[in-house]
Amino acid sequence: MSAPGEIRYIDHPHPVSGVTNAKLGMWCFLASEIMLFGGFFSTYVLLRAGNPAWPTGSHLLNVPLAALNTVILITSSVTMVMAWYSLAIKSLPKFKMYLGLTILLAFAFLVVKGFEYGMKFEHHIYPAKNTFYAIYFTMTGLHGLHVVGGIVANLYYLFPGSKMWETNPEQFTGRIECAGLYWHFVDLVWIFLFPVLYLL
């Protein structure tokens, strides 16, 4: 029985649904994100199907850099889940190391992306050039914004947010799991973006 006025299932799961509030909330958020990127993939399909002269991505875009970014992001997903695992086995130092690595890899992703965009801009290739570049810049740009969001959240959890480990370790572990869900989703989107934009 909870005390009056106390919100339940913050640090332990609901007996029937089996999840905490934060986890259900994060999955709902990810569902909306699936629909958001779905709108963009739908746009891509419609524009490409209507344009017989659509170029092959690998002819115009930098595949090696993007492949490198794919490796970087997948690795960061591993370090992210290891960060959660470290909390599950109650090791705060390991958690900080893995979360720090995740953040560094995320920055590396953005740096590589910066080079990619820079090379395009040097050749005066901007979104307005044609619909291929329009969708390329918009989708990778929006994905990049999501990477930035993940970095901000992870920095918060690495520094001020980690204080919660002392007062409520279960809730903090749950928060990192949710941050991980978000981060893996960002990785997932890239797993589809990479072949669709760069290879097909």
Partner: protein, 582 residues
């Protein structure tokens, strides 16, 4: 297992004023904030309509009195509404009513205030997120209103912002798009909160099939908001790209504007905008109606002193309705040149979706049968909702069938159809909700005489405004015309425009008793106890007004939501949380 870091319900009475009433995380305060803000926006949207009605009744005539100089030379030189200003009025009337008025009131206002109480929860699952939702909505609203004052004025390409017109429009459209991004974000955060709260925080004993229908309606609505809004966000981003970065997502090749070819790459598709827009905008209309149906169910059950007829069927129907609402959207697009296969698909799904609507309407109607009906003000609005929604729904049928839609698309018939559902439909239900729950929020009842005057004249004038529109539409009068009399069919139906406009201004006057009643009753209304309607649902078991945390002890639920007139009981209602007999 005790954790003391839930500061939001720790020492609530010690919080400073700005944290208690401005940046509050209490769902009740947030609910009132949403409701008050939404009512103000509804007033703004209503005012825009009254200006539109002047131009339609007396095309090209200067506005009367002080209004002739109020809008400046850019909008109404000499008091004559310019076509550009008229288009702003139209586009913003729709936008404000839907996104800043009705949905924030029904979901943000009623949903936030009532839902946690009805499920026996102390608050929403994410109180801080709730607060954020409200303020993001507020900012979005400010951006929208601000757009009236920039050069070129507010958005003027319809609330539907079709490309390519909206892409080449002036900067007001950019404000509209940015405002929409804020509103969509607010809606998203709110819908996550509602879903998690309903799944996780129901009181012990409150299974899904013991929930009040209002909660089910809000629950389904939240899924619609969660999954349907993102593609509009996508579309908004793409239109912003087209406008600001000069991409051509929606711009076809070869566009010529004012004699000059546009300097864009082309290769885009205006129909893409329509698909992405209507993918949201169709579920959005169910967002407009579902909470209203929820309110009507509560008011009818309470004021007939019997359970809702077909409660379970209504639940299955509303879930099925929510699902179907995602696969009917292109019935707004029958005239774009789609294939007969696609048209057939959407006609079929549109016909199918009428079935759950009818089930819900019929169940509510049958709930009246054999009831000991109390004809108080909320009940009058709730009962009136039924035939008004019926007319709205039935007039949707010739629009949902492509053959008849060819004649009726983009005419006043459409305006009549959707207004019947939203205005004497949803808005009447919202009035019912205000009269019904006012005593829970304030501890006082609103005045019955003023309420009945409000109802009677609103009902008459609502029909006066919208019924003639069907005849205008059948005669072929198009939507969004600054001067319908330039066409013969518009000229012949012009007397209807005069009649409609006077009805609209009468409708405005009919709201005066409501406004007086609302504010007057806060201070001088008849004081009542915590359950003045003798209702069964959990919000009436909470003190009035409910304290922070809502219930003195967490409630336990023993029965369904509408145990009225149970044989063998002394009283004609048996509250859900009452263990013993009543």
């Amino acid at each position: 297992m005790s954790h003391h870091d839930h500061d939001h319900h720790g020492h609530h009475h010690d919080l400073p004023f700005w944290r208690k009433y401005i940046f509050s995380v209490d769902h009740k305060v947030i609910g009132v904030q949403y409701a008050v803000t939404a009512l103000l926006f509804l007033f703004v949207g209503f005012t825009l309509m009254m200006l539109i009605r002047w131009q339609l009744a007396f095309p090209g005539q200067p506005l009367p009195g002080f209004l002739s100089t109020l809008f400046g030379d850019a909008n109404a030189p000499g008091g004559i509404i310019l076509p550009e200003f008229y288009n702003q009025l139209g586009a913003m009337h729709g936008t404000i009513m839907i996104f800043l008025g009705v949905v924030p009131l029904s979901v943000g206002g009623f949903g936030n205030y009532v839902l946690p109480l009805q499920i026996g929860a102390p608050d929403m699952a994410f109180p801080k997120l709730n607060m954020l939702s409200y303020w993001v909505y507020f900012i979005g609203g400010v951006i929208m209103l601000f757009s009236f004052f920039v050069t070129g004025g507010a958005a003027q390409s319809g609330w539907t912002s079709y490309a390519p017109l909206a892409v080449i429009a002036q900067q007001g459209q950019t404000f509209w798009l940015i405002g929409m991004v804020f509103l969509i974000t607010s809606s998203l955060l709110g819908s996550i909160n509602f879903i998690v709260t309903t799944v996780q925080l129901r009181a012990d004993g409150l299974s899904f099939f013991r929930l009040p229908f209002f909660v089910w309606a809000q629950f389904v609505t939240s899924f619609l908001l969660l999954l349907a809004f993102p593609p509009l966000e996508t579309a908004g981003v793409l239109q912003l790209m087209d406008r600001l970065a000069h991409t051509s997502f929606f711009m076809p090749s070869g566009l010529v504007v004012s004699g000059e070819a546009l300097a864009i790459s082309g290769g885009g598709n205006p129909i893409l905008w329509q698909h992405l827009f209507w993918f949201l905008a169709h579920p959005e209309v169910y967002v407009l109606i579902l909470p209203a149906m929820g309110i009507v169910a509560e008011v009818i059950a309470c004021n007939t002193r019997k359970p809702i007829y077909g409660y379970k069927s209504m639940i299955y129907a509303v879930v099925f309705l929510g699902f179907m609402s995602f696969i009917v959207w292109a019935h707004h697009m029958y005239l774009v040149g789609m294939s007969t296969e696609m048209s057939a698909f959407f006609q079929v799904t549109t016909m199918i979706i009428s079935i759950p609507s009818i089930i819900i309407l019929t169940a509510l109607l049958l709930s009246l049968w054999g009831g000991a009906i109390r004809f108080n003000t909320p009940m009058l609005f709730a009962i009136a909702f039924l035939p008004m929604f019926g007319i709205g729904g039935l007039t949707g049928l010739p629009l949902g069938l492509a053959a008849s839609d060819i004649h009726l698309h983009d005419t006043y018939y459409v305006i009549g159809h959707f207004h019947y559902v939203v205005a004497p439909g949803t808005i009447f239900a919202l009035f019912a909700g205000i009269y019904h729950w006012f005593p829970k929020v304030t501890g006082r009842k609103m005045n019955e005489i003023l309420g009945k005057v409000h109802f009677f004249f609103s009902f008459i004038f609502m029909n006066g405004v919208f019924m003639p529109m069907f005849f205008q539409g059948l005669a072929g009068v198009s939507r969004r015309l600054w001067d319908p009399t330039q066409y013969a069919h518009g000229l012949s139906t012009q007397p209807l425009n005069v009649f409609i406009s006077f009805s609209a201004w009468g409708l405005a006057l009919a709201q005066i008793p409501f406004i007086l009643n609302f504010f007057g009753s806060i201070f001088a209304g008849k004081k009542v106890d915590q359950n003045p309607w003798e209702a069964t649902t959990l919000e009436w078991s909470a003190p009035t007004p409910p304290p922070h945390g809502n219930f003195l002890t967490p409630p336990v639920v023993y029965r369904g939501p509408y145990e009225y007139s149970v044989p063998g009981q002394k009283k004609d209602f048996w509250p859900q949380a009452m263990k013993e007999t009543n």
